[in-house]
Symmetry: C2
Subunit: 258 residues, 2 copies
């Protein structure tokens, strides 16, 4: 009888056609598609653990998952078979074996999300699935100043609810807007890193910072909203399709014996 | 009776779901969709002229078109109405009035195309519509040296057929591979500018340069292929979906009186 090994995978997906990461009774989910692919390959039910339960429409280039599997071929064979079985909007970019006790969510020390905005009068057609189109000119320096308010450890109750329990204290270590060099000069990228995030936290923060960029809110207003710990004070969340989970960090990389 | 004005527009499109730029008896084309939108807005048949007849699957962020129109409202109204009427995979990014004799193809002095490659073992899911996935590692410096061979005025008969006539001499002023800063380190962008291009010329050149990157051809082979003026010597064309028409240049910008 084959013994179970634990595998760790980095996963990319285009969130456009998913109801989100987490499996549901009905509808297409990332977890559901990966579990279905593993079931097809192994003829047995396999449950995967994921680092972040991204919402419907949210993308990932750095989701991390782990699962136990009895696999009789090489690790490379599994990697190739998985990518050949998965639909075109999910790709396993890395696959390693890991420790039996590795958990992608509980073991993570930080997550980084990117939020993309196209800031020009008309939509950018090649980015329409991956960036929020904001047509009014945004004051990016003001948005960056307001972003600084979020750095450090705070109770972020004004920007989201905890996925479980009632602790809404999180530690944000990066929050900045950058204009990448490239073909599309109207593209703005927001990078935010924290130990963990509340439900809809990034989208609520981006929605609020865009209000600063439009001069509907000031930097001081953002500090005030944060201090009041009241979710009703946040601006409406930015749409899901601009958001992408790009990195999950662990204290040390899961050990590979493969 | 309203007099006809001539309009010039910059157009972006996602080529994925088009049979190409040029209108055909059957099937979805960029020209067909724009002419249908103009017909819907004006209740009359409008013929548009385009700068470049991009192939099926090829994208554009800088296509240029022109058309004559009797329009009773403002130019901004026309711009807004067009974008509201066009499907989501076509956007008019700029609209001006222009001289009566302006022709986007015959008046152009140069065109710039970008060809995108993702060079890593597995596909990059967010770029799958816009970049060719090449899994074997490419020698980019060798590809850049071979690209230099193409600079200047040459008979490019080995890389394409003229759209009409039999003159296959073209003048290439830029041909370089760049690795853009950004989230996806495996992304390679080829930029090529010429006074005009032969049919499939960019894709045939990219297909050949990738053979150099794989060390199946040398820089000297590319010079030899060019000198032989024989289309059968080119490598197979790179796939359409990596290609994007990004810029068309005119001697002076079409004059606006709007």
């Amino acid at each position: 009888m084959l013994s179970l090994q634990r595998f760790c995978a980095s996963v990319e997906y285009d969130g456009t056609d998913f109801l989100g990461y987490q499996i549901q009774a009905q509808g297409r989910t990332v977890q559901g598609e990966i579990e279905a692919a593993l079931a097809k390959l192994t003829q047995s039910a396999v449950r995967i653990d994921g680092a972040g339960r991204t919402d419907a429409g949210v993308h990932a280039t750095g989701q991390v998952i782990a699962f136990n599997l009895a696999w009789r071929h090489t690790q490379h064979d599994l990697h190739r078979a998985l990518n050949a079985t998965l639909p075109h909007d999910i790709v396993v970019s890395k696959l390693t074996t890991t420790n039996r006790d590795f958990h992608p969510r509980f073991g993570a020390v930080s997550r980084t999300y990117r939020y993309q905005i196209v800031n020009r009068q008309w939509p950018a057609v090649l980015l329409r699935r991956y960036a929020w189109h904001v047509k009014q000119p945004l004051d990016v320096p003001a948005m960056n100043r307001a972003s600084q308010t979020l750095l450090g450890q705070h109770d972020f109750a004004s920007f989201g609810k905890p996925p479980q329990g009632n602790n809404s204290v999180r530690h944000v270590t990066q929050a900045e807007w950058l204009q990448p060099d490239g073909q599309e000069p109207s593209l703005l990228n927001f990078y935010i890193t924290a130990n963990a995030f509340l439900y809809r936290m990034v989208r609520n923060i981006v929605g609020t910072l865009v209000q600063v960029g439009l001069h509907h809110l000031t930097e001081a207003d953002v500090a005030d909203i944060l201090s009041q710990k009241n979710l009703r004070l946040s601006a409406p969340p930015a749409p899901a399709h601009g958001l992408c989970l790009i990195k999950v960090t662990y204290p040390d990389r899961p050990k590979s014996n493969g």
